[in-house]
Amino acid sequence: MTKELWKGNEAIAEACVRGGLEAYFGYPITPQTELLEYLSWRMPDLGRAFLQAESELAAINMVYGAAAAGARTMTSSSSPGVSLMQEGLSYIAASNVPMVMVDMMRGGPGLGNLAPTQADYFQLVKGGGHGDYHPIVLAPSSVQEAADMAYAAFDLADRYRTIVIIAADGNIGQMMEPVEMPVMRELVPRDRGWELTGSVGRPRRVIHSLNLSPVEMAKINALIQDKQRLIGANEVRYAERFAEGCDLLVVAFGSAARIAQTAIRQAREAGLNVGLFRPISLYPFPSERLAALAARTRKFLVFELNAGQMFEDVRLATGSPVPIDFLGRMGGVMPLPDEVLEAIQQAMPAPRTNGIDAPKRAAPIGLN
């Protein structure tokens, strides 16, 4: 397999195609438009469905239809457009049909700007739509990872009949990196027993989200909760670097983790014992692993391109045993590695003073 240079947006688009995407519906918005543009010719070339909808609202409901019809389907957008999809996402979650969404987050709130941020973590992870549900949310930090995730997202969505969101930003979307593109998957006709295909030779099926009886609705909710527990058990993803035994653990995801990685390299070159923990699945959040690390790390530094959103999940995961600093940048300001390095230096639990090394590793603090 050879590598090729791909722009993030196009790499995701192509990986979706190869992962079996059968129907795409979307609406232009920077910085994800290239994804739509790529699919606008790629999908028809393969005889698959592509439609530029009249709005994000229409797009998500077309996806709902296509998903109900059994297709591997997706949409892509960016922050304001994703806000418009919240009702639709809630319906899709309630109906237990699988779909994939790509959100290239930009500067908010409001019209904001086109610059990369991670300010929609809460919206995506905690549930921007009404009701109790959580999509699977994956945050790539390289183009290769984005492509791999996109390819795998449809399987994941299918397996749990859930929404899978790939949450990135213009940094990933606009960047070119070498990518080993996964192989084209063949489309196989499937009948998983629930999709709407016309009732020839079988009892009719209905896909809906209305349950006037609270007891019935509670059952739907219980089903969703069960599914989420299962997802929590199976689908936690994260990456680490020097995380075991470091003095300061930087927790960052997506493009922030890339910046942190450079800063950490610099810090380690300067003799600081710093590690990196990168949640890849934002939902389910790698809480267990973080709790374990918290029990034997002296300090955490959470770094996000927002005002401190994943920060809450880190705090929830760790409880109070480990002090947690926060470094955030808002509005699309992309900090360069040296700013993160500075924050690392400030956050170091016991900086070397007077030439005497502080102990590299604090006594483990037990979880109580």
């Binding site: 213009g170 606009q174 960047m175 070119m176 990196e177 070498p178 910046i259 800063a263 590695p337």
Partner: protein, 184 residues
């Protein structure tokens, strides 16, 4: 070794293409590489920027404050980036278009009359290629042969420019060897 390269100029000067030339060549040489354009308010018209990082190891941030290598193709680019070049790094200045100099003594600053060379070849828009040739020669980030091969492949649609392209690259490289003494 990690080369952090910034190329900056006006839109239309082939800044993004110059970056792609580097990026594809890096891929050819099986290096790690990232290519990222300036993003945000600068999108529409005006200045164009690209950062290309070429490394033997995995690359962290695709953008850096202090690049190791910079090509500036217009005066604002010089003003903005000259102070940022990492000490010991390279600064390629298109001397046809830029009168100012960085005034720094801790970097290797190379004046290349890129546009003039390109113009002489009949294609003024090839100044970007000249500058890339110069960068390759001075920094050693990539082999000139690789760049040539990629350049030929990437411009295959315009075979009439093939010779000029190669000449631009080579003359850029050559310009370094001749001007190098003056600055270092």
């Amino acid at each position: 070794m990690e080369h952090q390269i910034v190329i900056s100029g006006f839109g239309g000067q082939g800044v993004l293409f110059a970056g792609q030339l580097l990026a594809y060549s890096a891929l050819e040489e099986s290096k790690h590489v990232t290519w990222i354009p300036a993003y945000g308010p600068e999108m529409r018209g005006g200045t164009a920027n690209v950062t290309v990082i070429i490394s033997d190891d995995e690359i962290g941030s695709p953008q850096v404050r202090n690049p190791t290598d910079v090509i500036v193709l217009n005066p604002p680019a010089l003003t903005r980036y000259a102070p940022l070049v990492k000490p010991g790094g390279c600064l390629i200045v298109d001397a046809t278009l830029i009168e100012q100099r960085s005034g720094r003594s801790d970097i290797r600053e190379i004046d290349v009359p890129a546009r003039a060379i390109a113009q002489a070849l009949g294609f003024p828009q090839m100044a970007n290629v000249v500058a890339v040739g110069a960068l390759a020669a001075i920094s050693g980030v990539l082999k000139l042969e690789t760049l040539e091969r990629v350049l030929i492949a990437k411009t295959a649609k315009r075979p009439e420019m093939r010779e000029a392209n190669i000449a631009a690259l080579r003359q850029g490289a050559a310009a370094v060897t001749t001007t190098q003494h003056a600055v270092s």
